[in-house]
Symmetry: D2
Subunit: 284 residues, 4 copies
């Protein structure tokens, strides 16, 4: 089992940043495994991900935080440390379409997703057996136009009880309240079944069919208060033709949705995503 | 050199259409080379493309029209016959970006596009040498806010003089007037540098960059009176990442635009496109 | 539930085939839903798939066979009728990697695969729980170098007992004997984890990694007596880079394998595949 | 016009490399624009590309070489410096198919390829006019089975006279002698019209057609003494179907070849390619 630390850094771009970080890590005997950086000239931003082996590293988490803050302050860094052994705890929310859920659960069981999935919440009971087959707690919380606030309160309580770090909307067909969204900034990932910004909102496959496009797509993104406008993490497309009816689009789309959502989740839990200017930098 | 006829047919779907067409062709000794059909259950439409060798076929164009109208009337067909030896005459309109133009001219010279290209019109002089290198007439018609109607009148005259069947907008950066569009229904093909319906209108690569999409695209479509809303013929996409600046999107986009536009042109001139309900059926 | 018939036809190309088939179907009151044909000029072959609604069709299966044989004989047709209500019975064979199996079972349950899957055979016990979760019989038949003939005999018996029409090798890591292969011609589909003909044989991802390719692939094909040389049904690829280790290739490959295998299975059970000259024609 | 330096480094992986490089660049006032690194754990290799603005940098090329050798020696680095203002001089060799040539020349003229192309050599005269249109010297050197050594001697002389750094085989249909290949290690780029290692050698599209693959590809690679076995730089694929004849494969392949070859050339001239173990690392 991996025992590494990952550091994500954003700061104004200036000379000496890489040298300062590299010197700091060398001084504390870090064995760097991967490092990737990006400079956004337009916004004068420096962004970096560095991962090192903790074997031989001479700082624990608390002392790292203390020691690194000197470097961080000098360059006005925003930063975020993640230890591979502290696994992200993921809750999946789902309605009736279970293809993304089944895919995530199977990948998790196969060892593809290095997270914990202790909790699935649904407003339907359709997926209960599948969830239980994988040994995961299933909670049914009905949502209707009258009980939304109450239902979300119950959801928040579950997130707290299970120590949830990340919420994945795996074709959850309810719109979250602004309160919900603001509680979990950059911690809610959704899958939308179109290549955004085309076909924002409901029934994108039907509208794609009506428009006569030759490609359909899927988009995973962080949820923000504006519907389908959050930072895009990943997108995929597939070709269609006049032979494809709406049902074919929906079926082909399922394959896109599975892959696109699972990539977003894996990048998030591996601390590979940096956000700025409503965009993502993916250090993959 | 090929000597074939291609027939495109649209009609209400009912029993006996294929039998009637096949019997008609057999009776006149047609050697069918390709046949492709499509049924749209939702709209109860039958669509077909059939191509046959003219060697041994016992009708000329005039007698075909007469003889086939009996079948066509029985099934309320809209139909369109094209002889391979009657090549489509194409005019290309272009502004300053010449990548699509250069691509079309090279493909044409290589024998990929079975059409004639007697005419290129531009509102700039940048592409004049390239056009002349390929032995094609170049006409410079300046367009500004004051002379648009006059400029278009000059264009219409050239189209008439050169016997133009199809107008290809190969990154022509002027918006055509409603009068222009209505004169050449289903005879103007444009390339738009986004995967429509995303980023309709101006500067799509810049807006794609700002939105932080992970894919860029290009779309070829017939021009109708509503900007970028005409029937889509072909679309292509390419992946981008945070490393790509706007300039990289523009460069990658050029490769998409070339391929997507040239496919649309080749399908049109080979009589492979049927339109209905603002969509295309491509018999490729 | 659909109630249609599908007819696949191969014969020497000559005039009058389409007319004869169309006339026959019209005469028996068939409502054609889809028809697709292909002519191979090089081999002078005509290939066709036609699907019609059985409502109102005035022949049952036995009388169809009798009545159609007159047309078929005239044109020396090989033909194959399939009724949608007579569902293909599929056995899946699997070893330890369960991603293709899990995918097929989930698609089947979701209604994507219009077949029956009464039987899974494995030389390991790893997938037993998963198979049983979907309510399917699981049979463990160990295979080693000493018991191969005996193991295959047990497999043949199961295929017979369960009335199996199609055998899907969903990452089954044993090589079938020539006897096995010859018993089920065009009825065994395999998934190979490379874009054939590259990397025939064992450990293709490792060899792809060593060769430094920039793309990996997966291929579904019918099994013939020559390893990995059977007719290709479908192929998919994904991009890789120097950042991808063998493990990443294997993981990315799983997504390809799932999609490529499931397409092959769905096309087979929908009677969309015609074989000739060690190639497939896919009427999709 | 850009005024940057690019440094490519390969060395055994150990602690302190990044810090040493970053400190060196900081000390000499380099403004780093891009940096990308890769660690190959299996081979214990560290590979890096770093690009910095020369404005304000306090070393010229000679003093850089002297000053950096201390760092380089400490870590046993192989390294290579390239200044953006010292443009790679490219010779293109071509036979009769001119699609890659036309594409490279058009990209170069459009400013996509930051190199000089002073020389085109062909064993035919077909492309002479095209080359001259772009203002480039064209040399016709016939090659036959009797004059190969003599022809290559004439080619070597031209490479020397024109100060050529990189030789691009843009569908040059002659096999180079071992002597030719050994004179220009990692300086000859070829385009092969298949997804290697499938269909090594002659007539790959014909063999792809016969095998019945569902994808065709193209591969750009450095030329080594073993035919089609050199390090792969880039690959692309396109889907085909049973409707595509050999001629269609060849036509679709042209679009792949153009893009795949031009990417390889642009990465080479931008100093983005590191080679090891017969593989490429592309820092794009």
């Amino acid at each position: 089992m991996k025992n590494t630390a990952t550091l994500l850094i954003t700061c104004p771009d200036t000379k000496g940043i890489v040298a300062a970080i590299a010197d700091f890590l060398l001084q504390h005997n870090a064995n760097i495994l991967h490092a990737d950086q990006h400079q956004d000239a337009e916004n004068n931003l420096f962004l970096m991900r560095v991962e090192w082996d903790l074997t031989g590293f001479n700082l624990d988490e608390a002392s790292f935080n203390h020691a690194f803050s000197e470097v961080a302050n000098k360059f006005s860094m925003q930063w975020q440390l993640k230890l591979s052994q502290h696994k992200t705890r993921v809750a999946i929310m789902v309605s009736q379409y279970d293809h993304c859920l089944a895919d995530l659960l199977h990948r998790h069981k196969s060892g593809e997703l290095a997270c914990e999935i202790p909790l699935v919440i649904s407003n339907h009971r359709d997926t209960e057996n599948l969830v239980k087959f994988y040994g995961i707690d299933f909670h049914h919380i009905e949502v209707n136009k009258d009980n939304k606030a109450q239902a979300e309160a119950a959801q928040f309580k579950l997130f707290a009880d299970y120590g949830i770090d990340l919420i994945v909307l795996a074709r959850y067909m309810q719109i979250l309240s602004p309160d919900f969204v603001s509680r979990y900034p950059q911690r809610i990932i959704n899958i939308h079944h179109s290549f955004l910004p085309a076909f924002i909102g409901a029934r994108p496959y039907h509208r794609a069919f009506e428009r006569g496009v030759k490609l359909i797509g899927a988009t995973s993104h962080y949820v923000t208060e504006v519907l389908d406008e959050g930072p895009i993490i990943e997108q995929g497309i597939d070709r269609i033709s006049h032979r494809d009816q709406v049902e074919d689009l929906i079926q082909k789309g399922r394959d896109l949705e599975r892959v696109v959502l699972s990539k977003a989740v894996s990048w998030h839990i591996e601390n590979r995503i940096l956000l700025y200017a409503n965009k993502t930098v993916i250090f993959d």
